[in-house]
């Protein structure tokens, strides 16, 4: 038989063998194919379960309290607000370990009011220690690089000078968390380590315009507990803020409207973006606190969908008037 010619039998034999080979390769490929992709969260945290949740730090006996102070000095306004709420001792007891969740999102000067003001933070830390707190911690997972953010915002200095421990958002400080009935916070890395042995949580944020959500205040402050590529949640910003409202139940929410960022938020940049609204709001209902804060931006809860959603989800009430806020001017 000529090398260049094969008979029919040989052809069929070879074809069948080739076909079997192709089918075997295809079958192997199909069996190995994973259309869903790897479960990265399970892989990343193989040894950790997601069966943890943030404790509810709210104090039942202090629920529904809100104070609004008009004044231009942050420390004085804070002290007046705490007094109107029954005194810091209502919230902080001897031996408490307090975590203050600040907004240190951007590496910006405190003058730009894009982050928690260091003077306000220092005053809050001082109050906590005066009430007998055993330890005060400060934390956030900023948008920009943490070291620059904590340094340039003055938060690092305020923390250290006031005797608080600043906890950086290192990767090992996160753990995956699944919020019950959530659509977005599912096996998502959330800051966990700063909460170890914490008995009280204080949320402190400035009042700011926000290009996506309409406003950034204490409810949105919870964003700084999330790790990972959390910017994907911008696609559904109102839902994520609502879920954060369900996830984070602080003891006290402090909303700084001494100077409000009226436009070009959340970064701002120009001092002309600010308006001297000279108002500080403190309360135990973060939805109510934010609803009052919205008025400083010339808005109501109706303009901020996440407030309506958070209230509907049971995180609080946007009808701050119903809580009979204590309103003072200093």
């Amino acid at each position: 038989m000529d090398d260049k010619q094969i008979n029919r039998r040989e052809f069929l034999t070879r074809s069948i063998r080739t076909g079997i080979g192709v089918a075997a390769a295809g079958t192997a490929g199909y069996l190995f194919h994973d259309s869903k992709g790897p479960d990265l969260h399970a892989m990343a945290y193989e040894s950790e379960s997601t069966a943890w949740s943030l404790p509810d730090f709210s104090i039942r006996s202090a629920s529904g309290k809100i104070a609004v102070v008009h004044g231009d000095k942050r420390e004085s306004a804070l002290n007046a607000a705490l007094k109107a709420l029954g005194g810091i001792e209502t919230f902080i007891k001897k031996g408490d370990v307090v975590l203050i969740k600040v907004n240190a999102a951007f590496a910006a000067s405190p003058l730009l009011c894009a982050t928690t003001h260091p003077d306000l933070l220092a005053a809050m830390i001082k109050s906590c220690y005066q009430a007998g707190a055993a330890k005060v911690r400060v934390t956030d997972n900023p948008i920009n690089d943490p070291a620059s953010c904590f340094l340039l915002t003055g938060i690092e200095a305020a923390s250290k000078e006031s005797g608080a421990e600043l906890i950086m958002p290192r990767e090992e400080n996160f753990a995956p968390l699944t919020l019950e009935n959530a659509k977005l916070i599912i096996k998502w890395p959330v800051l966990k380590k700063p909460f170890e042995k914490v008995t009280k949580l204080i949320s402190m944020a400035p009042v700011k315009d926000h290009h996506r959500s309409g406003a950034s205040m204490t409810l949105k402050n919870g964003y700084g507990l999330l790790g990972g590529r959390r910017n994907i949640f911008h696609q559904d910003i109102n839902t994520i803020i609502t879920e954060l409202a369900m996830m984070v139940k602080p003891t006290l929410s402090i909303l700084d409207g001494i100077n409000t960022m009226m436009t070009n938020g959340p970064t701002g940049g120009s001092l002309s973006d600010l308006k001297a609204t000279h108002t500080l709001i403190a309360g135990t209902d973060p939805v109510a606190v934010d609803s009052y804060g919205a008025t400083l931006l010339g808005k109501s809860h109706r303009d901020l969908q996440y407030l309506v959603q958070a209230a509907a989800a049971g995180a609080g009430t946007f009808n701050y008037s119903s809580l009979k806020p204590a309103i003072l001017t200093i």
Binding site: M1, D3, A25, A28, F32, K36, G37, P38, L40, H41, M43, A44, Y45, A105, F106, A107, A108, S109, L111, L112, I143, N144, D145, S148, L152, E171, K183, L184, I186, K187, P189, H210, H211, R212, S213, S216, G227, G228, R229, N231, I232, H234, Q235, D236, I237, T263, N264, G265, P266, T267, G269, S270, L271, S272, D273
Partner: protein
């Protein structure tokens, strides 16, 4: 007995060998996924997240400076040429459309749909004063896009700077465009020295990019200045002669030139409307705005005018059949008018321009301003060959 086809068998075995190597490599690599990389969960992928097609990327590296800002004269380790009064406070950072929100969070939504390409930023400090500032250089791809993000963030009551086609300063910051770049410089405190340094850096940046000359944007010049501006240069007889109705018109219109803005996409909430310039006016002291958009053809402009009106009606707008825009009929301009959310909108097309007025408190004010805009566009259309 020797194999009848040694050559083809050898080739076949070689191919199979390569395939086996590939398969083993893939099998090996898929178990080595980096757990530090976080990606979308399945539910968010299915919802069509914009990050679906992008992988996790690093956000900053001094070695990843974008070529879009490349300048041979930039100081070493800096994104711009520095003076001897300034030094870098941080390394250069580079952000693209995937990572921009890592720097500016939700504000990225302003830039991304407006043609954003990349952003470089860096902090600088004074060598002998305790003040620092951050410079942001946004590559927006086109001068019109740079103008768009510049105009949409323009602050009120600012001081114009003559260093660039569009530039202004505030107490602690300067903002400008240069070609397709939008530049911001923000100081840590209000300081005339800081503003001076920032202006110097801006000038250095501009002179290092001489290939980018100011681009004349035609449409902003088409917004009429308003009859208040005309009145100030006219005598009484001319004013009365110019009044077509023969009755002294007491309605004054005035353009706020600093308010001219370019919105590139989803204009007024309508996804078919893009590349629209808007301008703020005062009509007898009440605020109202006008808009102009240059389309590809008269047919396109006319069609879009109808579609936009249809969109407004869909959201509760009711047609105003009694709207009368001066000289519209004489020039064959079809006027659409609706009342929506207690304001009046008038929409029309002249030549290849779609135009109109919005947020009019009353019909007469809207008609007067619409007439002025229409006259300007008619003049422009008649000047074109």
């Amino acid at each position: 007995m020797s194999h009848p086809y040694p050559r083809s068998s050898a080739v076949g075995i070689a191919i199979l060998g390569i395939l086996v190597i590939i398969a083993v490599t893939i099998f090996n690599q898929q178990f080595k996924f980096n757990p530090a990389v976080r990606v979308l969960s399945e539910s968010t992928i299915n919802e069509g997240s914009m990050l679906q097609k992008n992988s996790d990327q690093k956000t900053e590296s001094s070695s990843e400076t974008s070529s879009s800002v490349e300048s041979k004269t930039a100081s070493p380790g800096a994104i711009v040429r520095l003076t001897d009064k300034l030094a870098p406070l941080s390394p250069p950072e580079h952000f693209d459309e995937v990572t921009l929100s890592d720097k500016i969070d939700g504000k990225a939504e302003l830039y991304l749909p407006s043609g954003f390409k990349s952003m470089e930023c860096q902090r600088f400090k004074s060598v002998n004063k305790d003040i620092w500032f951050e410079m942001f250089i946004y590559d927006m791809g086109l001068p019109e896009n740079a103008f768009s993000v510049f105009s949409r963030q323009r602050r009120d009551n600012v001081k114009s700077l003559d260093i660039a086609q569009y530039a202004y300063q505030t107490e602690n910051a300067i903002f400008l465009t240069h070609g397709h770049f939008y530049v911001e410089m923000i100081a840590s405190a209000p300081s005339s020295d800081a503003v001076m340094w920032m202006v110097d850096l801006a000038k250095a940046f501009i002179s290092d990019h001489p290939e980018l000359s100011p681009k004349k944007m035609d449409v902003p010049d088409l917004f009429p200045a308003g009859n208040e501006a005309a009145d100030s240069s006219q005598g009484t007889e001319e004013k009365e002669a110019g009044n077509s109705s023969g009755v002294a018109e007491t309605i004054k219109t005035a353009l706020d030139k600093e308010s001219i803005t370019l919105i590139t996409t989803d204009v007024f909430g309508f996804d078919k409307l893009d590349q629209v310039y808007t301008a703020g006016y005062k009509v007898n002291g009440a605020a109202i705005s006008a808009f102009i958009s240059k389309r590809g053809s008269h047919e396109e402009a006319e069609k879009l005018a109808s579609e936009y009106i249809g969109f407004l009606k869909q959201f509760g707008g009711s047609a105003i059949d009694t709207a009368k825009v001066d000289k519209a009929d004489d020039n064959g301009v079809k006027i659409h008018a609706v009342e929506i959310m207690d304001t009046v909108e008038i929409v029309f097309s002249v030549g290849q321009f779609l135009a109109g007025v919005r947020e009019g408190e009353d019909l007469r004010s809207a008609e007067i301003l619409a007439s002025e805009v229409m006259q300007s566009l008619l003049k422009e259309s008649s000047n074109k060959p």
